[in-house]
Amino acid sequence: MRVDCNAFIGAYPWRKVPYTSPGEVLKALDRTEIDVAWITHLPSLFWRDPTEGNGWLYKTARNEKRFKPVPSVHPGLANWEDVLSDAANSGAPAVRCDPMYLGLDPAGGEMRVLAAACGASRLPLILAVRLEDSRQRHPNDRAGDLPAAAVRALIRSDADVRLLVTHADRGFIEEVHFGSTPDEARRLWWDICWIWGPPEDHFATLLDTVGHERFVFGTGQPLRLPENSIAKLDLLDLAREQRDAIESKNIQGLMA
């Protein structure tokens, strides 16, 4: 069983990205033997109201059992609590909020209130550090990377919130993990898509220092090749149970 907790459907506004339709993402899942993908509507991440893409997202996920919807929520908009209710009622495994793309203070009051509400609703909150390497972005794509300090602030802001942080590199993960108490760190999960493999062996190091139970399989597709996260695992000598944990079982802990 392989679950991709970090996938998108739909066009990207800043460059041409092929194979973004539901059918094409399904083909990529087949190609890479991914059983289930948690999907977010990519274009609406950049809309003033990102929740306007959620209706399409739910409909798409209803039509394909391998897709699980991860709706976007904007805590600066009046409807945000309804979005959480809809997500819970629709069986969404998590909700996503990327404050840097929404122009929000990533550790500000709105995000803290959202984090607390997600904790109360037992809905994990997904945040991306980035979607693209900052060195290659469109000149008008000026959203900064999510600061590690914001993740530390959010995990401390509510005792029930669980965060899944995607597109984080080794330095970011270490800074947050070892900047948190063990209890806080147990409520943090990391997707593996941005972590380097050999020869630098950042991923192997993190599995040793942070622990394999904190990592979940994610790809960032179709913005990134899903083959990368699989290659990263294939380059490790993981015990079967460790690999299973990363590919599917750890995510159960996130949703528990």
Binding site: D133, R135, G197, P198, P199, E200, L223, R224
Partner: protein
Amino acid sequence: MLVDVHAHFLHARTPRADWRERNVSRLTAGAKIGISVHVASILGSWGLTSPIYFPSPRDVSAGNDALLALQREQPDAIRGYACVNPNYTAHARAEILRCLDAGMIGIKLAASRRADDPLLDPIAELARERRVPILQHIWQHRRRDWPGQEASDALELCALACRHPDVAFILAHIGGGGDWLHSLHAVTLVPNVYVDLSGSGVDGGMLEACIESVGVGRLLWGTDLTMDTGWAKLRYLETLLSKDELALVRWKNAARIFPPGAFPAD
């Protein structure tokens, strides 16, 4: 056969205490991926006694010596680029000759001097005489100067390549950061510039754009600092290309631009 045209190794006189582990890791991962030959460079002291991208002549020679030693230890698996700093013309030319005579098969230019600078001409001339390619570090679409390097972008490499049409230039790590589409547009019509697919970037659509811009005949497979991304791109290429096309990217294009006999199956 699989040739990694963009590899690096470390050595004892660098800031990295884990240099042995990193070298072993590269070779171990290479065995899993199926890499037949790592064509590698060492950039001086990697910052210990002179900057990575502005290595002193002494560090250049020490780094090349370390690479030659690795090549002697692993003669089947490791080949070398002679890394030089073009600001020291006489040393650079002497170092290239010394390293090629000792068995290296290419020249590595990092970011010590802009690629279109006339100081690179005597190096390109040597590359032509000895029929070896030049791997040029590239910042894909450099919009400003970045600290620690005098990086070049594809337009500047193409200016050099047009002055030396008989030399094969390798545009380094198309996935290594920056606007790769800018680079691909620049190199489309410059037939002696080859695109190295290495780098940490695994952007959806990047490989299709590479194929569309220069065709499979000018693509070279490589890893640089992230072998997982290299393997991912190779796996994806297996779904895009025919077996014959894939062989070009895996090694046959490399065999064409490196000296005859550089690789076992050549």
